[in-house]
Assembly symmetry: C2
Homo-oligomer: 248 residues x 2
DNA sequence: GCGATCAGCGGCACG
DNA sequence: CGTGCCGTTGATCGC
């Protein structure tokens, strides 16, 4: 194992991307604690300190450590141990104990590019701002990302009668929390301003429970159709699905 | 590139873990869309179809595709393209276009172990149930309430005066949404039952805004100290931090 | 299968 | 730094 340790230490010193595959058990302690007994595992150590342990299935690393962590190697009998440690935000560490042959590969990587993602909620909000007439004519956008002191409203508008309209926008099917979020904002606005306040959830679909809750609060739901799969955001429709008399 | 394609296709056919490192650009379309221009990238293909693209820094894969995705290879001039596609829940795909030399490694992995994590909210709830006297003497846990079984609420209890006590437990510092969630449960209970209902947030800390919101709703906050870093959950203290008269 | 919620959430933007 | 909130959230458990 001494040879493997040297190889790994060199790769770490060179600040390479390090890839290890072998039978190992994994322990973690810190914000929580975990144990994973022996099995074949993929370990990734990035130049920035990121430390990932993957099993042979599933998308997410089963154990991980963020950028800035320090990794060290130890020999314990005939076992090689990798320990990744960090102190902030809390003291936490992963220990990977390899029990046998380790396949080691290291790579020098150069990459300064940043991804460009289309279809975020923020972009949808901008798009909706342009097409706010779909919701209601004579609706005037006051602000986006309005600070209500107890949270942030996606879009704040004013209708033709001078009422405030708080709009909660979701990029996917609205759930209970979308409605409760909206309720918190609306409640806050009603407390502070001496104006009537309406609440609107705007999303591609809403769960039945969320719709019930929304109706019970006198809010409105607008079914939003959009496409963001072709590197641009296009709102294709905005259908009012709910017309309950609003007791605001 | 033909040789590389063969090597990769063989590894995929053998259902191995496949690791590729090389200069590539990445496109994604589906629930959203993204482009990432050329740079050195790490690509991981797991036997279950998981497809991950990593940059040389950061914890999370910059592009990804879940289990069940199908990966295929193509030659386009002197470029090798990997395409990972899936139809459910929506049609989405990643295309990785390698522009030069690719380092290819494949591994046969055997692993049927599952991780054991200590410190989940559920475990905390069980522990708190044992020490419920910390919150208030003569507090009785109502475990057979339907609301609890459905996971509707973390803990439901009854105080000495017969009032319902809804407890929202958080494994980390409580934020606005913890209070909002609690408010939804309490509102629901007040509507359904003909009993007075109190609300308690129990967490290791609470943000100032959340505390204000909590107080404005007449709820209570209990500061929870616990340790779960040594493979067991131990509640070390439970300090009442808030004593506002509850107008329930 | 959808629905609700947790997560060692991570990441980002803002004060 | 902490707070708030989004995320191609993913993972899990219940219905």
């Amino acid at each position: 194992m001494l040879e493997e340790k040297k190889t790994i230490d060199e790769a770490l010193a060179r600040n390479n991307l390090l890839i290890l595959v072998g039978n190992a058990n994994v322990k973690y302690f810190g914000r929580a604690s975990s144990k994973l007994s022996n099995g074949d595992r993929l370990v990734i150590v990035k130049p920035d300190g990121t430390f990932l342990v993957h099993q042979n299935s599933g998308m997410k690393a089963i154990n991980y450590q963020g950028p800035g962590s320090i990794v060290k190697t130890f020999l314990s009998g005939d076992k090689l141990i990798l320990k990744s440690e960090r102190l902030k935000p809390v003291h936490e560490a992963i220990e990977v104990e390899f029990t046998g042959k380790i396949q080691i590969h290291s790579f020098s990587m150069h990459d300064d590019k940043k991804i460009n993602v289309i279809g975020s909620e923020k972009q949808l909000a901008v798009e909706l701002e342009q097409n706010i007439g779909f919701i209601e004519k004579n609706l005037k956008i006051l602000t986006n990302e309005a600070d209500v002191k107890r949270g942030f409203i996606d879009l704040l508008a004013q209708d033709s009668e001078g009422n405030l309209v708080a709009i909660e926008l979701k990029r996917r099917r609205a759930s209970l929390d979308a409605v409760t979020q909206l309720e918190r904002y609306v409640t806050e606005l009603r407390k502070r301003k001496n104006v009537k306040v309406r609440g609107i959830v705007c999303a591609p679909g809403i769960t039945p429970n969320a719709l019930k809750l929304l109706e019970s609060r006198g809010f409105q739901f607008f079914n939003l159709k959009y496409d963001s799969s072709q590197m641009n955001v296009r709102i294709e429709g905005l259908e009012k699905k709910q017309n309950t008399l609003n007791f605001y």
